[in-house]
């Protein structure tokens, strides 16, 4: 279970708080959506969960399976099952996609006390998962994310998620930059990973993604706070009314 209590966060070296007291409880088997306008702190929350050191936690706690993760490095968190699907996946020229995938998978397997996969076995698993997500083998031969379209990058993220089999998935605006076909493929990939052992936090600006990945709960984040929580129908309501009512007035 993910438990966020009274979480306050600011950018390191700056004064302004971006998250101003977040409380959230997400159990395994559940999918929660976080919706909110631009600048509400959605991406900050995603980065803080993954351990990006540009941010400073000034108050509150984050525990995953009862363990405080706030002092852990990003790789330690990944080993504990935390996975962030990036809004803007990073291009790394010179690092072959397959080398990256194998290094990542083996690092996580090692941390979990599992054996490294043999090369043929690794190849088989990657090919299988890539096919499901319609990632061409040509893309796997390229340097990581280099020259990929926005949609291709997002599919790579879901491919990584599918290979690493994390237990806490944080999807940061995975729908941005996707056309409807790509959105369906990505959503199918995500839905295939839903299960009783896995918790998911789906961050999005638009309701559209939630037609395909149907959440158990929807939280509205505005100005660094969760201002409303409801069922999946809340997303539809927001689609009609917009975020205006959660603007400055809610602060």
């Amino acid at each position: 279970m993910l438990e966020i209590k009274n979480l306050h966060v600011k950018i390191a070296d700056e004064e302004t708080e971006i998250l101003r007291g977040i409380d959230l409880a997400l159990s395994k088997g559940e999918v929660h959506a976080i919706m909110g306008p631009n600048g509400s702190g959605k991406s900050t929350l995603a980065y803080v969960l993954a351990g990006k050191d540009d941010y400073e936690i000034t108050a509150g706690s984050v525990t995953w399976n009862g363990e405080d993760i706030t002092q852990m490095s990003p790789d330690e968190r990944a080993a504990k099952g935390v996975f962030l699907a990036f809004q803007y996946p990073i291009e790394i020229p010179g690092v072959a996609t397959m080398t990256f995938l194998r290094t990542s998978l083996n690092a996580i397997r090692k941390a979990r006390g599992e054996e490294e996969l043999s090369t043929p076995e690794f190849m088989r698993v990657v090919r299988e998962r890539a096919e499901e997500l319609k990632v061409s083998s040509d893309k796997l031969k390229r340097p990581l994310n280099v020259g990929f379209s926005g949609g291709e990058k997002k599919r790579q993220e879901i491919l990584q998620m599918s290979l690493l089999e994390p237990t806490l998935c944080v999807l940061d605006e995975t729908d941005s930059g996707l056309d409807i076909d790509a959105l369906k493929i990505v959503a199918e990939g995500v839905n295939a990973l839903r299960g009783p052992a896995r918790a998911m936090l789906v961050i999005t600006h638009y309701q559209r993604l939630l037609n395909y990945i149907v959440p158990d709960k929807v939280h509205v984040l505005s100005n660094g706070k969760i201002v409303r929580t409801g069922g999946k129908e809340l997303a539809l309501e927001l689609e009609k009314s917009g975020y205006a009512e959660f603007g400055e007035a809610a602060a």
Partner: protein, 449 residues
């Protein structure tokens, strides 16, 4: 007018060595060879070792860096076997399929070499022997291939050279395997080694030449090596250097290259070792329609000092030059890239570009980059660039968010950075070897730590 120059201890040592050795150096008794040495000694001794007030040597002050002149390596080095040569090369390069020519402490060692007669497409002999009875072509070539003006390190080499490889590749010859000149140092005591190679590639010939510089043992050494290379019209030459000498070595090498017409010249230098390394490359375009692509990779840590200095001289129209250097600098290492492109008045339609990039892994490392363009023609495309930076924080976070621990993530990014330039090596076995050596270096092995 004669001005008495105050000599440093090393300069005095060199002068004593020349006086003591001159009558015993290869070619003694041959008027041409003696004349060559005398003239070179004059050039050297009028200025002495280069120092920081000589513009080209601003960052590598040999007067300050060389405290002593080590005694010359003995004429016949200790008994060595082929196994020793392979051990000095290291497991990665020992397996390379090539025509191997071995120079130990300045002497070409036929019994350790395996040139296979160059497949009947050329000739190889010992330069030291040839100086005693020089052939016509050697007299027309030695010390005349694009000699740099007033470079006293090259002059010192001509004055004191003990040997090396003299090689000619026949016109239109295509060698099936690379020629690998192994420059090996082996000694229990401090010594200096001065070697010279002369390579003439015939018109239309295709050759890959690897020069490796390695140590067998950990004794201090001073190396001064020069390779003169003439690329005939229409030839294709890949010229590669690998340097992994022990961390007590001062390494000075100069490549003097002249390209004919329609030549394709690809050079690559990979530097890992030595305490002080100065890699000089002088390329002259003597025929139209040629291209010269020079790239380099430097991995330095500890207190290593690595200076790559190049002069590319466009004397004729329609040639293309590229210089691309990448350096990874850790600890208190210092990396230097100086690259001068000269485009002479007649060299219209010159296309020249240079780039130097350094990746700094510590606050104590230093990178100095000095690009220079001297352009006297008006219809040319020339450019230069230089960058230095640290490992990208966003890329690091991305890799670590995927479970890759920090040291491994950093190693991946550094390998990616330097890999871009190693990828330019056409020979697959060498490329793979260099990538493997990079991995070992990143894992903390190798010289210079």
């Amino acid at each position: 007018m004669s001005v008495e120059v105050l000599k440093t201890k090393a300069e005095q040592g060199l002068a004593d060595q020349y006086t003591a050795a001159r009558s015993g150096l290869p070619g003694a008794g041959n008027g041409w060879a003696e004349g060559l040495r005398e003239a070179a000694w004059e050039t050297y001794s009028s200025a002495g070792l280069p120092h920081r007030r000589i513009e080209e040597w601003k960052y590598t002050d040999l007067r300050a860096l060389l405290r002593d002149a080590y005694p010359p390596a003995p004429a016949l080095a200790e008994a060595l076997t082929g196994e020793d040569v392979l051990a000095a090369l290291g497991p990665v390069l020992a397996g390379l399929d090539c025509h191997r020519l071995v120079i130990v402490n300045g002497q070409f060692r036929l019994e350790l070499s395996d040139a296979g007669g160059l497949e009947g497409k050329g000739e190889v002999f010992s330069l030291g022997d040839a100086l005693g009875d020089p052939s016509h072509w050697l007299k027309q070539t030695l010390a005349q291939v694009n000699p740099p003006l007033n470079d006293t390190v090259v002059a010192l080499n001509t004055a004191l050279m003990t040997g090396g490889v003299a090689m000619r590749i026949a016109d239109k010859a295509e060698l099936g395997k690379p020629v690998h000149i192994v420059h090996m140092l082996t000694s229990g005591e401090a010594m200096s080694v001065t070697t010279r190679n002369v390579v003439v590639v015939g018109a239309g010939a295709k050759v890959t030449l690897l020069e490796s510089y390695v140590s067998h043992g950990s004794a201090p050494a001073q190396r001064n090596a020069v390779t003169e290379l003439v690329a005939g019209d229409g030839s294709q030459v890949h010229h590669i250097k690998f340097q992994n000498e022990n961390p007590e070595t001062a390494h000075l090498t100069s490549w003097m290259t002249r390209l004919g017409a329609d030549v394709s010249y690809d050079a690559f230098q990979f530097s890992l070792g030595a305490a002080i390394a100065r890699n000089q490359i002088f390329v002259a375009f003597a025929g139209e329609g040629s291209r010269s692509h020079i790239s380099g990779a430097v991995l330095a840590r500890g207190r290593q000092h690595n200076d790559t200095t190049m002069v590319v001289d466009h004397g004729v129209p329609g040639c293309e030059s590229r210089e691309f250097n990448k350096l990874v600098l850790d600890g208190s290492a210092r990396g230097i890239v100086q690259c001068k492109a000269i485009v002479r008045k007649d060299a219209q339609k010159t296309d020249g570009h240079q780039m130097a990039r350094a990746l700094m892994l510590s606050d104590g490392a230093e990178f100095d980059s000095k690009p220079e363009l001297e352009i006297f023609a008006d219809d040319v495309v020339c450019g230069h660039g230089s960058t230095s930076g640290q490992v990208d924080a966003e890329q690091m976070f991305y890799l670590r968010a995927r479970g890759i621990p920090e040291p491994q993530a950093k190693a991946l990014l550094v390998a990616a950075f330097i890999g871009e330039v190693i990828e330019k090596v056409e020979n697959e076995s060498m490329r793979e070897a260099f990538l493997k050596l990079t991995e070992s270096w990143l894992a903390g092995e190798g010289e210079g730590g």
